[in-house]
Symmetry: C2
Subunit: 282 residues, 2 copies
Amino acid sequence: MDIVRSVADLRARVRGWHARGERVALTPTMGALHDGHLSLVALGQHNADRVVATIFVNPTQFGANEDLDGYPRNEARDADLLSRGGCDLLFAPAVGEMYPPGFSTRVIVDGLTDVLCGAVRPGHFDGVAQVVTKLLNQAQADVAIFGEKDWQQLAVIRRLTRDLDIPTEILGAPILREPDGLAMSSRNRYLTADERAVAGTLNQALREAAQRIVAGQDIPSELAAARAAILGAGFASIDYVELREADTLAEVVRFDPTVPTRIFGAARLGRARLIDNMPVEG
Amino acid sequence: MDIVRSVADLRARVRGWHARGERVALTPTMGALHDGHLSLVALGQHNADRVVATIFVNPTQFGANEDLDGYPRNEARDADLLSRGGCDLLFAPAVGEMYPPGFSTRVIVDGLTDVLCGAVRPGHFDGVAQVVTKLLNQAQADVAIFGEKDWQQLAVIRRLTRDLDIPTEILGAPILREPDGLAMSSRNRYLTADERAVAGTLNQALREAAQRIVAGQDIPSELAAARAAILGAGFASIDYVELREADTLAEVVRFDPTVPTRIFGAARLGRARLIDNMPVEG
């Protein structure tokens, strides 16, 4: 697996594959790879002849008080995992290749970005929309794959891809979980052993609320019970526990099994901010 | 020349040409075509094997008090001109094809859009950036051609194309002028005969100021003289007469012949708002 660092080199490789009639999948990541990321690569292999992974810790999607500087970076390890996972090419640009002097263009997705993580992390999805627009246009892949753990991000990316007519198909990849239900995340490594022992509560509380809501229980009561369970397990605070439509992210006040619905949670545990979501369905 | 109205049909035609190894040029317009537009098509023919023109009066780039409803529309005449001008395909989408229900993505170019027309037409360049990003991604052309009469628009488009990594080369086409110097524009048809008789003053005043600035005359005095000449000819008001760097649009207070510099003017005459610009060079 080769590593390229310039858009020109990335494009030349993709152009060569396209000239041979090969289909190309893109799997954008911020590195610090885990099995969830490798499942994106596997889904890429299933949907294309070639898989390009990107590793770029995008500064524009981090807030001033967030973990940009401390975000885990280990390109050699990531490259080894990707290579063994069947990835054909790694694009790992420097910040200056992505945002050269004079850069001044923003991409804003209205509405979808106001709620959930967007309400807690102002500007985060503007940065995501900006960098994903760039990565998609840079790679010119046939399909791009994003994990469903960041469901809101996936919804924002689907929206901007459609709205800006970017000719790449967007695929979501199912969440990979640890045995206790904790969604795999690069930020799980921020957890101490004690914190890790209770981290699965976020998933368990959401799952229980989802099951009871499908069974007809009162939505506000179940969301409150989930919050209480999460805080009771030792989480420091809760950003949100909410029931929303899967596509529009509109709040759901009455459960309708014919409308795709998901439960979303975000909570803080030690240095980590953990998020999770799952379908609410019979 | 065929006319297509859906993005899917547009892409299918371009894909077919690309599959045959042909190079494709795009010339976006708002219709109401004049010889300036046809010169874009001619430049497209010079730079590509196929030329696609688009006609779309983009509502998102008009302000609330501007001339969206009254903007001249005559597709049959435009299609005839394009066909005779050597255009291969016309893309003329309805508003609903460009902005379907749920549409919610904006493209913002900071800095370049704050000055000149951007200062007088808030939101105008946001709409331009949005629709041009879409048109470029829709067409997947090799080169796209925009007139230098809208120099600031051209600078914004060059910036967003570079920043968002849109793989289309952007070319500027020289301004076409009437015998008295008036830059060709679809909005010139708003002028009465009396207004038309003095409209060339905008160009003449800018040209004179440019020559005197190159000759070393005082910049503020020359810009003031140009303003006085424009108002003296009967223009109702002036939006700006300014000297700026060609690429960054930074204001120029001391003329440096080694830095590409242009003089820009915008003024109101009857129902029309006329703009013009030209290089300031020895």
